[in-house]
Subunit: 221 residues, 2 copies
Amino acid sequence: MKRGKISNNVIRRLPRYLHFLNDLSYHGVVRVSSGEMASQMGLNASQIRQDFSCFGEFGQQGYGYNVEMLRQEIASILGADQKRSAILVGAGKLGQTLMGNFDFESCGFVLKAAFDIRTDLVGASVSQVPIYHIDFLQDFIRDHQPALAVLTVPRRIAVETANAVADAGVRGIWNFTNISLNVAKSDVIVEDIHFSDSLLSLSYYLKESERDAGEPKGTPT
Amino acid sequence: MKRGKISNNVIRRLPRYLHFLNDLSYHGVVRVSSGEMASQMGLNASQIRQDFSCFGEFGQQGYGYNVEMLRQEIASILGADQKRSAILVGAGKLGQTLMGNFDFESCGFVLKAAFDIRTDLVGASVSQVPIYHIDFLQDFIRDHQPALAVLTVPRRIAVETANAVADAGVRGIWNFTNISLNVAKSDVIVEDIHFSDSLLSLSYYLKESERDAGEPKGTPT
DNA sequence: TAGATTGTTAATCGATTAACAATC
DNA sequence: TAGATTGTTAATCGATTAACAATC
């Protein structure tokens, strides 16, 4: 496997490749070429080959790629084939939704426990994941060394909670709080799910398409 | 206001500017320079000025930008100051979470109704938003012309539901189904929230940081 | 005025796409 | 073998950053 700095753009395309290959695999497709992938995914074939070549040589001239083999390679690059421990902090509505519906295992994680301050939640379980009181958070992290913390607490306590899990040794934070976290420990990886950023972008494109529709000719300046 | 094709990268930064300016405004800050914004947001000052200049001239030499005025300009560009109708399809856990917790209004939308097939949900309301039976979806769209449909249905019926709302006249789809939608009507704007793509990227960076930590010297090839 | 900061043009940097020899 | 398709190098394209005249 090669090394060197891989650009963020490449990393963000890998999950899409993985999903696509999972689908092919599910439908029993055995081989695929970069050209076929490109046309079905709306990408450029050169780009796909470039992306793969950051990590090794997975194809064969004149044939293309073996779907199953390529799928496993990309899963491995992303760590989707691992089983790392994860915890969830903030077992409110959103937290429980993720506990119940999100497939952590397909991303290489196993959700071990959730934490909340509400005593009426403590002691319950959602999809076999127990909810503990937040007072046990630090001890649990020290004992179980989870790689990931899912942050679904209210905005108000987002920063302190992020710092708490980072101090206790968590290496990655999946942040749903819609706050830009500047975690004190600089080697912690933070990935944000910003619902509102996404919807605002959509809103822009909606406005733009209305504008285009309203001016069919291409109005001069 | 200028025109011309604005790059996607610029559009994706606008919501971040808006949040930052909202914060400044909330804290009573009256003026800000591109340099201050850059250092606090971890961007480049030239980039910020370039981004703004796509849409007009909002600053003043020697002074910088008036926070309130800039905030309103960007909100207007994104449509965050509007009040467009939206509906939600699929009032399960995730759907209800969004109905209850997400601030649609701050993104320029008003959630008017939700739809589900489960009769035990029909008739209920979440945060004043009523849940109707999915049989009334088409009629409701024709009558109320919502600009946006939030798609929180199960994967299985994602494609058909997306096509249904598009056919009935919805212009934008906020897609939470983790399926890549190819909506038949090509002028429909689809914005995906792909939880697993996000987590897989995080997983990659976690692996990478472990690798770096394990090889402190910079191993030669 | 002197200092600061914009908007914009030019320079640099990086990412995407095209081209093609290698070879299955 | 002939056709197809890779991996990679080179060319193009676009985005970011630097520089600076204009001017508040």
